[in-house]
Symmetry: D2
């Protein structure tokens, strides 16, 4: 891999002045009390080299980014049959909207809006006796880090504020699209959203998607080449809530964001890059994180378009 | 360019059995009386080599594919200011929906749904005294073919069936997002949708988007490198109506389709490929066309993901 | 009839302090330049007695109230067949919404939302060679006043601001629910909305609905007893835009309002009462007018419930 | 009271041929296994006289009709403050729609759609330590029948199929519009919907609404005159789901229906009439019940319009 250290430093200085212009997620206490000036970036290449800058090794809550892991787990088992339960189209509505769901009879538009992610987690519950263990195990392997854990405090807070997700799950259950007990489902969902990881972990954990489905750290074939490609397409079109089109437009890479302020993107065949800056823009994506990724693809001229 | 002739022949044979499984567009007579068994494919590389198979030189109505030309014209003049009038997000609704438009105060979600394309054509009307001539001129240059014309019969039919588009235009005018006379706007819009072209023309005409904004036939710099990249991102996320996510998923290339049965995609830096087969799937995209493109990207392993 | 003069004076004094708390309609100049302190009330009993107070003989623009006349004209001719083209259910959406219309395939929810009124006016166009004359003639007869006229200035202003109604009409035409030329339809519609009348005219003109369908001034049987009853039910459930439920709740009488600040209600078998005060509340109904009617039904204890 | 026995017999014969044209509610077993040919009618005047025909003393599940009792209980305590939590406008959407609810930030359109009824039941939970007892007590008093009970089998079935209502309740809780534990709320709601009553009970139990808020059986002042009037207005505009406008149009009386096939209406100051026939029309109202009421108001010429 070329040396990205200088580029990361440049980007770090360029985007730093934007700190203070966004807003911390405030729906659970655990997210609203992080240091809003945090900023870290990490790049990991498919051959394992790591570049990093700033708070790249400080843990934070990955939140919706975890939907990629559960999707990969369910997709590997179900294959194309998975798309009977969840769509592949961008949503055109804020990420927790029930309107589309009602209109489309309980089938969420895609696996990255909350409703779709709940359907995916429901599949994971059906596949594994101990779904929380299975998810943690999966993430530790793709991130090549045995120390990754669920932040119990965050998980508990999420469960206390889960009314909207409970509504989504019961609503889909009324259409027959949720198989497991709703309370158990929400528990597992709140746990995987509460995964605590840092930028280096995150970048590493997405490498299997840049590497055609193979975990570069242990050689596990997690997804077929075609499945990895398709999951990447889904990230590009649906990975950043109602700002996905703009993300494709500005960054031009498949990526996924979370309200904890993390955002991770990949260049197929080359690398994964993760940014963390907890202040969000109006769409719920890391304000500085998206900006940093735009600077990166511009500098290295590596958009997929 | 590698020789794609054999691959095109293979694909042609593979997808031919699907003829008869879709449905011709029937909202105007001119579209419903084409030969439903037509099938043509053309590839043109950025260095000008052409491969083709089947009815690749039979003219058809490009319909919504023409929205890419007017968008390129308006984008070149307005730059980022264009996005004050039209969004960049996938729509999540059928292509002629008024619901989203009402919800978002007359700003269409993207330039490829009808409402958005009408806003773009409205900009072209404001930019040129003779907008029909300007569009025809632009298309002839990017396709390197002086013989391309508006099919007057198709344009007339479209105008007779323009109630929905008249509604969209008047509706957006009520929000202040249309500047020109609505009847004149619809006339120009119906004309550019009635452009008559063949697969070779189409593939050539999209080469400037594969070539970083530069027309390879005459060296004209039509869009900046960044603008070309962004227009490609828009095609990927929004180019195929409410099936755009699926197109990205299966084909993995920026592309644009029309209800005349044409569909064209590009591999950035390499080539453009156009398919024509007039039978449509349930989303209004060429059933065989999308299938053929999926076969192509699989065979040459050239998805952008 | 009992003598309502004292009651009207009382109400007049009670509601006067509310003047200044609403907002004039401002979408056309003709409506925004009336004297916002105007306030008139008139009651006419089915046996022809008139009580009035304030500006009860000052003309104003009746606007949507005119939809009752065209509905009565179309209902008399079409009978129950009319309900194939327009519904009878409250809309649950602001009066000019396209969302419901799209969802229900071009059939408006009821004849008092703009879309429904356009369908009704379209029927009047099909029934009469000179629809404007026919409407004027009808209104003059029910109001027993040959001097009622269309305010041409208001009609012209309305046509200049007709984008939303043009959109509605073209949209319904795309579903096959408008038979006549849209421009001619809008012309007739803008004219009947521009009827210039005063409170006494208005109250008189609604007497046939309080009188079981018979015009008390000339004995004409305009609607059957059952049709009159049904039109009254429609006014109760749908007559005041998205505030109809509240109007039924507070006033408890069938009534119809217009953005010119007029509002008229009937007590079946007894009387009609019209109020004019041009300032509107947030739902587009006369703020003082609705209040005055609530005082009236409370004082005389004459709600239908 | 005039003698309605002959009229009831006439109506009974007239509407009987319609039996078999509707469809039993099938979402819970208890409702789908009643005798679909059942038909009963009862009239009770404000001075206590009873007329009845057919299965007027066979018990059935009142379902949504029970929403009137809880509304009266909550309205009596909260007065106008109640309307901060629930609207008074017809919904314009099927009775269990989440779309409107999302659009209006968790405030249901009216107290008779499921969401609104849940808000009302939530208020009852806050008002009474033993809300199920309080409701049963209230109903027994207004119906003047100590034997009325909750059908435990029906209540249990409802709870097993409560996904949609759980979704509604959690969703409103996410907007802060539900105060009590959702599972407890659903339990109470399923119980009051499972009240087992017959036509005579039902007609008696609505007499206080025809009697200006006073229970004619024991003289209790349950609602003020104005509150009773307003509750009646609400029944007229919103009492029959998405068919309320048609009910007002055809029947012309305030009324309330339930999916158990019961429907009850009142003539203010005079009487209450209840019909039971379990087959439903497409809107979820008793097909024969609504027809019978239309015959009744036509024969006695007692519409409020």
């Amino acid at each position: 891999m070329m040396d990205y250290n200088d580029i990361l430093k440049e980007i770090y200085e360029e985007v730093k002045p934007l700190l203070g212009k966004g807003r911390l997620a405030d729906y659970i206490p655990a997210l609203s009390c992080v240091d809003s000036n945090s900023l870290g970036i990490a790049i990991v290449s498919v051959d394992g080299e790591v570049c990093k800058v700033g708070d790249a090794e400080t843990n934070f809550s990955v939140q919706s980014i975890s939907k990629v892991y559960t999707l990969a787990m369910a997709f590997a088992e179900h294959g194309v049959g998975l798309w009977d339960y969840v769509g592949k189209e961008p949503s055109g509505n804020p990420f927790n909207s029930l309107i589309q769901l009602e209109h489309e009879q309980g089938i969420p538009r895609n696996p990255f809006i909350n409703a779709g992610a709940l359907v995916i987690t429901d599949k994971v519950l059906s596949l594994y006796k101990k779904p929380k263990n299975a998810i943690l195990d999966y993430v530790r392997k793709v991130a090549d880090n045995e120390d990754i854990y669920f932040d119990k405090e965050v998980a508990r807070s999420e469960k206390d504020e889960a009314s909207r997700n409970l509504a989504l799950a019961h609503f889909m259950q009324s259409f027959g699209n949720i198989q497991n007990d709703v309370d158990r489902l929400i528990d597992v969902y709140c746990h995987h959203c509460a995964l605590s990881m840092n930028c280096v972990d995150l970048a590493k954990s997405f490498l299997f998607l840049a590497n055609h489905g193979e975990n570069p750290f242990n050689g596990d074939k997690l997804l077929s080449r075609s499945q990895a490609k398709r999951l990447n397409a889904l990230m590009l079109t649906c990975g950043c809530y109602d700002e996905s089109g703009d993300f494709a437009f500005r960054v031009g890479l498949p990526g996924k964001s979370g309200v904890g302020g993390g955002v991770v993107a990949i260049i197929p065949g080359e690398l994964a890059i993760a940014v963390w800056s907890p202040e969000l823009n109006e769409y719920g994506n890391s304000l500085v994180g998206v900006e940093a990724l735009e600077h990166f693809t511009t500098k290295v001229d590596k958009s997929i378009f």
